[in-house]
Symmetry: C2
Subunit: 414 residues, 2 copies
């Protein structure tokens, strides 16, 4: 007997038949003696239809209260339909909109942050033996206006509800079986991970594994909500995202990710003076350009090189801005390259395992992959390589760290 | 400078372009120095789509809270879109859902009755110089569940809001130019009525003029809200529905209506005992069959005939029920006829004009139309005639009471 939050995305509720399937899953969980809260997105297609209408009505619709009012009607339909489908199966359910829970947020339309979730309503309905169906993605601000949480908002709703009602588990249903050791589409040996820590998942998510939104993982970590990522189209167990435990430390590397969406810019032979980095990056930030990896090495003869990566779509703008600053700070030259990829190994076990980074470097160089930049954090090592070598790099690293389906996992211990 | 409530139905907001037209009308009213509250229905088509989804999810969807939650998402979209369209035109507007106003109702899902409208929110926004856009058709019950008002609900919302905020006028935009002296599709001479009393409008509405829902007219009468029925596709003045005044009394007959949707049933030679009528009509009411006209004449030799009309769709059921009772109450026979029409003349002036009914009877008989039944109220006379003579009857009565376009209206005074 547990309290379980189950979240289903837009494709899982895309038709009434699929909504009935969601009903069957809810029923199965109830029959095992659990209490269930369901969080739903809008039916796939509905959100795009509503966005289209809003943009047709005004060219400045995004970010307005009216836009959020329109968009939030999508989940209103899907949760009502699931309540009807469950009632048809003899299961009593209470659909609740953001303002009915209430899920209180700030007033930032289209990207509101949750400030409070009142739980009496949900807990009261559960106590009556009913299933509670909460509209994902939406909330209400202190003035009673509808808000939406932005991209991945339904995941955030699910995790926040789970945290607030102290659920035993929050299941995120998606269209893949879970989190994989690497992208199965480029590495046949990719294996589903059974258990991964929040921090590893955060590195995996922000590095390119598109299964869970970073924000919902941060939320889960903060409130210690165990997350299960699993497929809505199969009964297979998914990947459990939870607090780090002893077992996880035994594995040096949990997964390998790659990202082909970045470009690099190098400012060559900058005089090594205090304040140079700030002069370079402040204007980029002000123009809304996100800088990812930054590498600066020791200086020679009073000069140093500064290299960083930005999103490919921001590259032309970023290059022009940097070019202008380069003259002011008396740099010799500005170089750029868009044909790069970032490849990373992620693992909480790295902390206690020596030699993880060297095995990565050795494996890449041993296979003819040149490393252009290196950056590390406590639980990941990232290298910038030539874009054309991405697939090869993933494959050889996956093998070197013994992540494959048919390998027995053991300590890497190099 | 007046406070005006404008209500637009589903066809008037069926596309974003039509919603922009509604915006233009709002702008024109504002530019004359008025304050404006707009009440909208859902976009035409949207309601049917939502009903379809709900019925696909459950065969017993109607009347449930989930059904109302789903349906009420329709106006959520249309009011949001109008707010966006107005903002694009430089006009600030606040869209408000039923629960945001709030429009408090009882908990009868799908046919809720309004119990209270809190006006602070609407008046506060108006004071800020904003247009307020209220979602029609929906409310919220005391427990915070969304309800809907049933058929014609948006008209009711508009009139109720107008009453609550003491608006100077409530304009109901529809797809016709106003209320006509009779159906223009069967009588070329039909003329738009400039002014009509609530009571006349109620008789017109319930007798078959499909312009305004009876419930909203009753509401308008109760709270003395002047209603203007007008076209959303032209700038012509519509029909003003208001309190009876001296001018109206000068006109004996304001309009002629007909209804082909009824059938009649006669119970022949019933022993004239107390309680017979109750024995006859109670079982019909209990089976949900509405009885309209009832005629019982004086009795002969202890026996009388009892005739009444029901909706054609209820006729077979009603006939069977009455047949069964006829034996119990020792009636000689039960007769029925579905090929009938009810034709009525309506006018507040009848009270002060003699001879209105006789002119009706004379006109019909003079033109070979046989009258099968007669029923009168204070401001109307209805006759049951053969269905095939409907058009002819309308035409000759319209002429006899000088309702036509080219006639000078004067007292009938017969």
């Amino acid at each position: 007997m547990a309290l379980i939050v189950k979240k289903f995305g837009g494709t899982s509720v895309g038709t009434v038949d699929k909504i009935k399937n969601v009903g069957e899953r809810v029923k199965a969980t109830l029959e095992k003696g659990n209490d269930v809260v369901v969080v739903l997105s809008a039916m796939s297609g509905d959100t795009n239809r509503l966005i289209g209408l809003a943009n047709e009505a005004s060219s400045r619709a995004l970010g307005t209260p009216a836009y959020d009012m329109i968009l939030s009607s999508g989940e209103q339909v899907s949760i009502g339909l699931l309540a009807l489908a469950l009632s048809e199966m003899g299961i009593e359910a209470t659909p609740m909109l953001g303002w009915q829970v209430p899920i209180v947020t700030d007033s930032m339309n289209c990207s509101a942050r949750i400030s409070e979730i009142k739980t009496e309503g949900i807990l009261g309905e559960l106590k009556k033996g009913r299933v509670v169906i909460v509209a994902g993605f939406q909330g209400v601000d202190p003035e009673g206006h509808i808000t939406t949480l932005g991209r991945g908002g339904s995941d955030t709703t699910a995790v926040a509800i789970a945290a607030a009602i102290k659920a035993d588990l929050c299941e995120i249903y998606t269209d893949v079986d879970g989190v994989f050791t690497t992208d199965p589409s480029i590495c046949k040996e990719a294996r589903k991970i059974e258990k991964i820590s929040y921090d590893e998942m955060l590195e995996m998510a922000s590095l390119g594994a598109k299964v869970l939104q970073t924000r919902s993982v941060e939320f889960a970590k903060k409130y210690d909500v165990p997350l299960m990522v699993r497929s809505s189209f199969s009964d297979r167990e998914g990947t459990l995202v939870c607090k780090e435990d002893k077992e996880m430390e035994k594995v040096a590397v949990s997964g390998i990710t790659y990202n082909k969406n970045e470009a690099k810019i190098s400012v060559v032979r900058v005089p090594d003076r205090p304040g140079i980095a700030a002069m370079l990056f402040k204007p980029l930030t002000e123009k809304g350009i996100n800088v990812d990896m930054i590498v600066q090495n020791i200086s020679h003869a009073g000069h140093t090189d500064m290299t960083f990566t930005v999103l490919k779509e921001d590259y032309p703008r970023a290059f022009d801005i940097v070019k202008e600053i380069a003259d002011d700070i008396e740099a010799e030259n500005v170089d750029g390259n868009t044909d790069i990829a970032k490849i990373s190994i992620v693992g909480a076990g790295m902390r206690s395992h020596a030699g993880v980074a060297s095995l990565m470097f050795e494996t890449l160089s041993g296979n003819g992959v040149n490393i252009q930049m290196i950056s590390t954090s406590e639980i990941k090592v990232s290298c910038i390589i030539d874009e054309t070598q991405t697939e090869k790099a993933v494959e050889v690293l996956h093998k070197a760290f013994e992540l494959g389906k048919n390998e027995v996992k053991e300590e890497v211990g190099i």
